[in-house]
């Protein structure tokens, strides 16, 4: 018995000490892992490896970002960037967990409208000391640069932006007796043109749809288009403005005319690419981001039939207001090599990389010089999306209303399901969001 006990004690001790030794080893490895970085900054030619997280894993985007990364790696000899792809649904949740655990990636692509929120919550790195006296600001569109500021300091560099434009099918316009070079310029014209483009069976079944604001654009875009005011900005909530109530009534009137059942049935059969209703010729007008053109280019048989125009105005003179979003690159809080990370971010937002991204991805980029590149502007569609930026607002979500959408969306859903009037719903949402902002300001 005693012998057994001794043996097992010995075993236990052995296991525990083995564990301790292993743990010791790994912490030693960590220490030697961080040593070269300090060596590199003092001039030794030891390479720093950066982990760069993106959600660009598609066959279109992955080769483009990886080419930019390999160009950067070849352009200098002390930093090696490694690309890590994470799916869209996981990337920021995973980053947050890694930041909390003190082991984040070195550079990450993140949402442009919430940079200040992350800065406030200690999730990204203040770039002030790395920027120094350099005038990096002037390379970006001012509106995009402003999204990166928290208490006057930049916490990210803008990478891309986007804008919503109107695509319309000129062949279908001709067929319906409309002028193919005169896209609708106001909401009234849009409604009149769409009626002529509709092909609807006697039982109400939609064979072809001219347009429908919620299905072919999105209600939120129409509401913001009406008065050019974001739902929430640093001045407050602008949800139940008279124009937005009118706009929601307008959207509802389309649904009432066409019939919710018929719209549901029409919509249920569609997806993306060849299955997109616009690309399969079942929808004549569609409002979407500029990059939707890549789907037209790749899947629509006669792309010269497709016209592109700014959004129609609510009423003459109210403006072709559009909304945009986009992405920034930033350094998560606690990253080990911020100086090298910043150097890579500068490369990503410089003319060469930005031009390459714009050219092959058809995206609006944040760098002004790249965006206005004459070679790129030769493409009329690309030019149209750049021109549309002057109508486009990029509004950061205010710090005191981080999740205001959760209060607004259900109210609008209730309107579209016919359970509430537009005015009541928007009044309620306005009050709820104001309450949220008040509580978060305390």
């Amino acid at each position: 018995m005693k012998a057994v006990k001794r043996t097992s004690l010995a075993l236990l001790t052995l296991t525990l000490s083995a564990g301790a030794v292993l743990a010791g080893c790994s912490s030693k490895n960590d220490a030697s892992g961080s040593a070269p970085s300090s060596g590199a900054s003092s001039g030794k030619q030891e390479k720093v490896t950066l982990d760069f997280w993106t959600f660009w894993g598609s066959t279109t985007r992955r080769p483009i970002i990886e080419k930019i990364i390999s160009d950067f790696n070849a352009s200098q000899d002390h930093i090696v960037v490694k690309h890590t792809y994470l799916p869209w649904g996981d990337i920021w949740t995973k980053e947050l967990a890694q930041v909390a655990a003190g082991n984040p990636p070195d550079v990450i692509v993140n949402d442009i409208s919430t940079v200040a929120q992350r800065a406030q919550k200690n999730q990204n790195t203040n770039l002030k000391s790395f920027i120094g006296s350099e005038d990096i600001k002037s390379r970006f569109f001012p509106e995009l640069w402003n999204t990166t500021l928290y208490k006057g300091d930049a916490y990210a560099l803008p990478f891309t932006t986007d804008t919503r434009v109107m695509f319309y099918n000129k062949a279908l316009f001709k067929e319906a007796g409309l002028d193919p070079n005169k896209p609708p310029a106001t909401w009234d014209e849009l409604a009149a043109d769409a009626k002529k483009l509709d092909k609807i069976g006697s039982d109400g079944k939609i064979e072809r749809l001219g347009f429908e604001p919620n299905l072919a654009a999105g209600w939120d875009l129409f509401l913001v288009n009406s008065d050019g005011l974001a739902f929430v900005d640093d001045k407050g909530a602008h949800i139940n403005t008279p124009s937005k109530i009118d706009a929601l009534n307008y959207i509802k009137s389309w649904e009432d005319r066409l019939g919710k059942k018929n719209l549901d049935a029409f919509q249920a059969g569609f997806g993306s690419k060849q299955n997109d209703p616009f690309i399969s010729g079942k929808l004549a007008i569609k409002i979407d981001v500029g990059t939707f053109w890549t789907q037209i280019r790749d899947f629509y048989p006669k792309k010269e039939d497709i016209g592109i125009a700014p959004l129609p105005e609510f009423k003459p003179g109210t403006g072709h207001n559009s909304v945009g979003g986009g992405f920034v690159v930033e350094i998560p809080k606690g990253a080990k090599h911020p100086k090298e990370s910043y150097e890579f971010m500068k490369y990503l937002t410089d003319v060469a990389a930005q031009k390459y991204w714009a050219q092959y991805n058809f995206d609006n980029v944040a760098n002004i010089q790249a965006s206005n590149d004459p070679e790129l502007q030769k493409d009329p569609v690309y030019k149209a999306t750049v021109d549309n930026l002057k109508y486009t607002k990029v509004t950061p979500v205010p710090l005191n209303a981080p999740d205001f959408r959760n209060l607004l969306n259900p109210e609008v859903d209730a309107v579209l399901l016919g359970k509430e009037s537009p005015k009541d719903a928007l009044d309620k949402a306005q009050a709820a969001v104001e309450n949220l902002m008040k509580q978060n300001t305390k």
């Binding site: 018995m1 006990k5 947050l96 930041v99 909390a100 406030q120 919550k121 200690n122 999730q123 059942k261 549901d264 049935a265 919509q267 249920a268 059969g269 809080k333 959760n406 209060l407 259900p410 109210e411 399901l417 709820a432 309450n435 949220l436 509580q439």
Partner: protein, 242 residues
């Protein structure tokens, strides 16, 4: 001497016992109880993982119960789902298990066919269902049209999305069916013989009573398990309809 003896036998055995359960106790404390208590505490604070954790009392609960426009709807939907789903799946998996317990040629093939949907999973199945439930060209509405019913837009009409989710889930009751089938197979042959001698009729109707007597504990476990799964099953449906 006496003390030493007690120590070396009973106490030592106890100590070994504790040593053997210690990994589980450790895991429970660190990975289950710890996070559970932490979440409870965090629900009374404005915790955001990286920057703050100040006590704010019942503020979060007030927001959930009184201000969140979706909380009560979600709760109602979940209850609707559970109340319909648990009896329906239990009933149909028992029925199918009983049918599949009959000894006829080719039974293995039938068992495989009924079990197969539970093995298929994920986005592929949902895409398939989207086609089957398509209001215009889908299989379900086509068949309904033959008998003069104009089928609904299953996945977009708010009155029909919940039944559609239940409908889709019913397709993959094979897992439950298999468990019932296994316990049916465990019912000894003598019981059936005894039932026959007692003058019970055809074989199928006898089974539920005898089976129930034989295997109640198994039921209880499965039903609790299922209830728990139903409450937590919503993401699948949301992915589909969303």
């Amino acid at each position: 001497m006496n003390r030493k003896k007690g120590f070396s036998l009973e106490r030592r055995e106890k100590a070994w016992g504790y040593l053997f359960v210690s990994p589980w106790v450790f895991g429970f404390l660190v990975f289950t109880a710890g996070p559970l208590l932490f979440s409870l505490y965090a629900s009374f604070t404005n915790y955001d993982i990286t920057s703050q954790m100040d006590w704010i009392g019942l503020r979060n609960f007030h927001r959930m119960f009184k201000e969140d426009p979706l909380f009560w709807i979600s709760l109602k939907n979940t209850l609707f789902y559970v109340v319909l789903m648990v009896p329906l799946t239990t009933l149909s998996s028992v029925t199918i298990a009983v049918l599949l317990n009959v000894k006829i040629p080719g039974m293995r093939l039938f068992r495989t066919m009924f079990y197969l949907p539970s093995v298929l999973s994920g986005v592929g199945v949902y895409l398939l269902w989207m086609q089957i439930l398509n209001p215009e060209s889908g299989l379900v509405n086509r068949i309904l049209a033959f008998i003069g019913i104009h089928g609904p837009a299953w996945l977009t009409d708010p009155n029909w999305t919940k039944p559609a989710i239940i409908f889709m889930k019913m397709w993959s009751i094979g897992g439950g069916m298999l468990m019932y089938l296994a316990s049916l197979q465990g019912v000894p042959e003598q019981l059936y013989e005894a039932a026959e001698i007692d003058g019970a009729g055809a074989r199928l109707p006898q089974i539920p009573q005898h089976h129930a007597a034989h295997d109640q504990s198994g039921h209880l476990f499965r039903d609790c398990h299922r209830l728990d799964r139903r409450f937590s099953d919503f993401p699948g449906g949301l992915r589909h309809v969303g």
